[in-house]
């Protein structure tokens, strides 16, 4: 039987059993009244669409041909397995996610260590560093497209002075470089997410720990490697998984910066699904691709959780 626990006040504990029981019931009802509106909304716009999305993935529905969905079983998935466009997008998504995660985690960790030092105005520095994370992706995308422009981009010009030549066609027209260009912008925009999480983790570690390891003669690096890192493991675990999901799921930056081009050198899986839906109105096939992404993410999450051994320690 559920109980209201912390909510039972001092006076209520002495009241007669019936009144106490009614009070528990009332507390429970109150909680549900507060919860139901949000649960309803989320059910209508997430549970139902999720069900619809999965059923669409098993149907043929192209709005340009007609408004009715026809059940075709797993045909969409069969097509998908032999679709070279999907294979190419999957390869790009893998590259985007792995390189994105490693670069963001490294810079995010370094920034968190730098910002964890307490001083009077450190909060201002923390806010300034977080800023890119809150910027509209449209602005981020076009701002960097401009700054990395082959001819007029300030960054292109500056790095040419230190001997790095991006080349006449620049980053955005070069199929070998475009994806890394977007990855760089993704790093700029998203590493603060890791910083935020790791910083929160570091602030949860008692300061006395460093004092005692210092007495034992541990260097800063040893303290970091053998004391902080193990303590930060849960935070790193959660932030990695959340960011991986975001990198796999969200095509926003690629959509805005390259639209998958040049050619299909930066085409990622969700963008392919989005284009199939938005431009070709092929809702059935687009849903199948999205369901495949969901399955891949769930698989990835399970393997990751197993390999990290999360939960075993508890």
């Amino acid at each position: 039987m559920a109980k209201v626990g912390r909510k039972v006040g001092y006076s209520e504990r002495r009241a007669n059993p019936l009144a106490r029981y009614l009070n528990i019931l009332e507390g429970k009802a109150f909680a549900w009244i507060l919860l139901i509106p949000s649960l309803l909304l989320v059910s209508l716009f997430i549970i139902y669409p999720l069900y619809r999305g999965i059923s669409l993935s098993l149907s043929e529905l192209e709005l340009l041909k007609g408004p009715d969905a026809k059940f075709i079983g797993i045909d969409n998935f069969r097509t998908l397995l032999h679709d070279p466009a999907v294979a190419n997008a999957a390869k790009n998504t893998l590259k985007y996610t792995v390189v994105g995660l490693i670069s963001q985690m490294a810079l995010g960790m370094a920034a968190a260590l730098l910002l964890s030092r307490e001083s009077k105005f450190i909060w201002a520095a923390r806010i300034a560093v977080m800023l890119p994370w809150f910027m509209p992706p449209v602005v981020t995308a076009y701002m960097w497209r401009f700054m990395l422009d082959a001819q007029y981009g300030i960054v292109t010009i500056l790095v040419s002075h230190i001997g790095i030549d991006i080349g006449g066609q620049g980053i955005w027209a070069n199929p070998d470089k475009a994806l890394y260009g977007v990855l760089f912008v993704e790093l700029w925009r998203s590493y603060p997410f890791f910083t935020l999480f790791i910083l929160a983790g570091i602030q949860g570690i008692p300061a006395e720990l460093r004092e005692s390891t210092a007495i034992d003669g541990a260097s800063s690096f040893q303290h970091f490697r053998y004391v902080m890192l193990p303590l930060l493991k849960p935070v790193l675990f959660v932030s990695t998984i959340l960011e991986a999901i975001k990198l796999i799921n969200s095509p926003t930056l690629v959509l805005l910066m390259t639209e998958g081009g040049p050619g299909d050198s930066t085409m990622v899986v969700p963008l392919l699904a989005f284009k199939k839906a938005y431009q070709a109105y092929d809702f059935g096939y687009a849903s199948a691709i999205s369901v495949a992404v969901l399955i891949a993410i769930s698989g990835f999450a399970m393997v990751y959780i197993r390999s990290v051994g999360f939960g075993k320690e508890k």
């Binding site: 001092y10 429970k28 649960l39 992706p137 007029y152 959509l255």
Partner: protein, 281 residues
């Protein structure tokens, strides 16, 4: 509470300050350069891409964009949609967050986990059925429809954040109020909500920024300037015309200024709230 007992002027402290300085520069210089470009004359930008001088600066590019982009209307849509999303997410998120923070009942952990999992589902997968659903509800290409779609995505985060802020408040406050004869609703309304107002401001700003920034849903759900938001308008504008650099950077600045205002207003609280939420993971 310095992490190490070293003096402020030790070499490592200087290295740390230089590192922090580099981080701040990395975050802010691109924005500053964009702002600078937006007020330069176009000829200057093309002739001296890396030039730096303060003559001839002006707001011509802004005027041009304002004239032919229907900017005031699209900006209005963005404001209205973000505001509606904020009100809905905050109202529902505060109620649900309070219930999940205070009461214990079977299934509470399940609900919390469920709200977490909602964010795992690819947006593209939900986008198509939501499009069809909006069509049936006659909400396609309306600001309210767009705000509803955003709310479902921002609500889980709002609930988690608000629960964190409520958790930080001692329960004794409500118990005292209850003993004094306050109803449950009254205790929440009169005692708890006023105390959690800074948390609500932070959560509301975060939610509004998320709605303000979105492109994907707005691109799909809107089909005309009736409900189209500014980021989408900007994407279409840039895709349609080869915008001169000054105008391109000016449009960028026009959509970042409201975010900067919101961030300056609630940024400190927001970062604090997010880090507090992170600890509880």
């Amino acid at each position: 509470m310095a992490v190490s007992g070293k003096s402020k002027y030790a070499p490592s402290a200087i290295a740390i300050n230089v590192g922090v300085g580099l981080l701040i520069a990395f975050a802010t210089l691109p924005l500053i350069w964009t702002a600078y470009t937006s007020v330069r004359p176009e000829i200057e930008i093309v002739k001296h891409p890396a030039g730096f001088m303060f003559g001839n600066l002006g707001f011509d590019a802004y005027r041009e964009v304002w004239k032919y982009s229907d900017f005031p209307h699209l900006l209005g849509n963005s404001v209205v949609v973000s505001f509606m999303t904020m009100i809905m997410s905050l109202t529902l998120g505060t109620f649900a967050g309070y219930a999940l923070s205070r009461a214990t009942f079977g299934g509470k952990q399940g609900i919390l986990l469920f709200y977490m999992l909602v964010r795992v589902i690819p947006g593209v997968l939900l986008l198509i059925p939501i499009y069809i659903l909006m069509q049936k509800l006659n909400l396609l290409d309306t600001r309210f429809g767009l705000a509803l779609a955003y709310t479902t995505f921002t609500l889980p985060a709002a609930i988690w954040l608000m629960k964190g802020f409520f958790d930080a408040l001692p329960v004794d406050l409500e118990n005292a109020a209850r003993i004094d004869g306050c109803s449950r609703m009254g205790a929440m309304w009169r005692i708890v909500l006023p105390l959690v107002r800074p948390g609500m401001a932070a959560t509301g700003t975060l939610v509004a920024i998320e709605a303000w920034n979105d492109v994907l849903f707005a691109l799909m759900i809107t089909s005309s300037n009736r409900a189209r938001t500014w980021p989408v308008g900007m994407k279409l504008l840039i895709g349609e015309f080869q915008l001169p650099w000054a105008q391109l950077t000016a449009t960028a600045m026009m959509s970042v200024i409201p975010v900067l205002i919101g961030f300056g207003f609630a940024g400190r609280k927001m970062v604090a709230g997010l880090t507090a939420g992170g600890v509880k993971e």
